[in-house]
Symmetry: C2
């Protein structure tokens, strides 16, 4: 497995484009398209929010029932959520217009939207946007980068990853892009994430891989505890690598899953580390757990605690808030047994031993917590399982971004 | 039922005191005592956090097993949580020292602490503090006010309520005080709250009243989603009103419950409205629900959403965030049926009808949202049940308070 410089077009046969269609009314790009030269198998996981955006409803149906998928069309600026029948029709129109422009069936087109909830899509801008996108499609590094830029909302940087693997003696690539950065608390899915591969793999195995890996990746991040109406991870496989199609578990499936896990972990961390207004990526590792689920609940509770997040912003080793967040998580453990460490590239320090303060150096702790990536490790000494969750600090800028204007 | 000007000493036979014992190292008061001239029945509800502060463990046992209770001793500045065996012993010492000073058994003294987690109590300051408190006890309005001040941490104002009722032809009073204002997300209990009454009521009926009313009062508020290690509501009844002792359900019990509910509701709203850094009390009312529990879950999810709280701070009628928060709450409803209103003393406005925007005036909405108390009403049109939750906006100052120093 080798990390390569590339975005969504790194996998063979995938083209992309991103441009400014005027939806946001700014100079920022706001529409993207991903297209495969050949039909793909597709998998998806979606928000569990009862309030589902129109494209989430459309995509669920496409992934479950369409014979193949060949394109994704995306807009940022407007979420197309809480927009009623009218909004759903606009979503179908997007798929249909993209299908016509690309010469593929309407139900071979997945749709994704992100932005303000409750506003209708400006179809007078979307339609010409789709036409222009279909003509601008390309396979270059730059085409991928433009698509990754076009799906951003309050994100400060585009988020792309590409990995090269070997399956059945053939070179294959798994590559993807995603966007955050507020209303991030995925539950069985995440904000918009698009992953493609040129590996050949059946729809069933693709969905199985995605559904199992999302549990330890996108479902383990949180920026603000708000589970979006639009969370979607879409995964397309076009088979251009030429490997024997993966149709069951085995070595090839494991190799593919390992790469997919790596891509999704990297993208998850990029979302958490670029959370709205944040200054650092905050990682919580729980070790010594009896079960993986117990470790997941505890790790996620730590990175979701507003008080802990504010302390991380202040570079304050306020470990009481971490233990408190573990305590109300719903998972059982013995507080009197817990050890807590802080770690970053500035070092590692034991802060708590058996539930009480170690008398650590506050100065050293502050140094460790002043880095761009900081980790809290909690050892609950009950077993050998572990889990990791990713979040970010809570800052003035989070409040500013979400209080000052409608995002 | 009549509201009267008074604090914890408004009920007959209750004395109080508050003073500066030097725990915080500032000029602020940091210790309080409440004492009843005669033995009381007592009830309590406590945090469900697995990590429980030492006084929570002590008080649970006292409430369940002691024959009577006669005093409460409280300190702010240090939470006495995550302090191990040593911390528990200090808690018992506090009860024992207060008991000696007041001439009552150790197990007739309840203890409460609030402040920084993980630090040991400065017993060299606590002990003289207890001596001084026992001599300073008084029944005046000012004595109550000083006690209410002494239990504050980041609270900006003391929180007191007193109500006069008639039970069995006798005048009785229910009065209380409490403190917030961060780490507020009570679960079956709350931050420190002390309610007293001179009504005569058995331990069983007192606990029953408290446990049932806490569900719709303290358990319906949240400042930051963090359930504290120290949450405690303590309720003492000394019988000085001279009514026939309440020992079963009936008219007298209902009258008492009505007053207790009113006192606890007022105190809950005072905590939410004085949440760390907040500029307004944010109330969420869910109506038209099938069940009360469904309404509670939805209302609480609204006031807990960081994105909604930041929008309220920005006076932005960003209703998509409200519907989104309802959607991920775990309660079922049909988004397509929901109406949403904003209301304050500046008026009432329908923002959403049947799940979509009404085309309301943004100007009017901003005016409504610029008041010190704002309410969001969601009508889910499924039945006749309802619930109300109280929170506050998310501001720069919340981050400042919790990022800048160890609180």
């Amino acid at each position: 497995m080798k990390k390569i410089d590339g975005g969504i077009t790194a996998a063979a046969g995938f083209l992309a484009a991103g441009l400014n269609a005027g939806i946001k009314g700014t100079e920022k790009k706001d529409m993207a398209m991903v297209y495969s030269e050949v039909p793909c198998t597709a998998a998806g996981v979606f928000t569990t929010n009862v309030v589902k955006a129109a494209p989430v409803k459309w995509d669920k149906n496409v992934v479950d029932t369409a014979p193949f998928v060949q394109a994704i069309v995306v807009n940022s600026g407007v979420a197309n959520a809480c927009t009623g029948e009218e909004g759903y029709q606009y979503c179908v129109d997007m798929a249909s217009q993209a299908g016509q422009a690309l010469g593929v069936p309407t139900d071979a087109v997945l749709v994704a939207s992100t932005g303000v909830i409750g506003r209708q899509l400006p179809m007078d801008k979307i339609k010409p946007g789709i036409q222009a996108l279909s003509k601008a499609l390309g396979a270059s590094r730059e085409d991928a980068a433009q698509a990754a830029q076009a799906i951003m909302t309050t994100d400060t940087k585009p988020k792309e990853v590409a990995l090269e693997i070997e399956i059945d003696g053939k070179k294959a690539v798994v590559s993807g892009m995603c966007k955050g950065s507020g209303m991030i608390h995925p539950n069985m899915a995440t904000m918009l994430c698009f992953v493609v591969t040129d590996a050949a793999i059946s729809h069933e195995m693709l969905q199985k891989a995605l559904s199992s890996i999302v549990v330890d990746t996108f479902n383990m991040i949180s920026v603000d505890g708000d589970t979006s109406t639009n969370d979607s991870v879409l995964l397309l496989a076009n088979g251009r690598a030429g490997n024997k199609r993966i149709e069951q578990e085995g070595e090839d499936y494991e190799t593919f899953c390992e790469a997919l896990r790596e891509v999704m972990t990297e993208l998850s961390k990029k979302i958490a580390g670029d959370g709205e207004g944040c200054t650092c990526l905050f990682e919580a590792k729980v070790i010594g757990a009896e079960t993986k689920e117990q470790a997941r609940i505890l790790a996620k509770s730590i990175i979701c605690s507003n008080l802990t997040k504010a302390a991380i912003f202040g570079h304050d080793a306020n470990w009481g808030r971490i233990l408190c967040a573990m305590g109300y998580s719903g998972a059982s453990f013995e507080p009197e047994k817990v050890d807590i460490y802080f770690e970053s590239k500035a070092g590692k320090l034991k802060i708590v031993e058996n539930g009480v303060d170690t008398g650590y150096s506050e100065e050293k702790a502050t140094e460790i917590l002043s880095q761009e990536e900081v980790t809290a490790i909690a050892d609950i000494k009950m077993g050998n399982e572990g889990a990791t969750a990713w979040g970010c600090d809570l800052t003035y800028d989070y409040v500013k971004i979400n209080g000052d204007y409608r995002s």
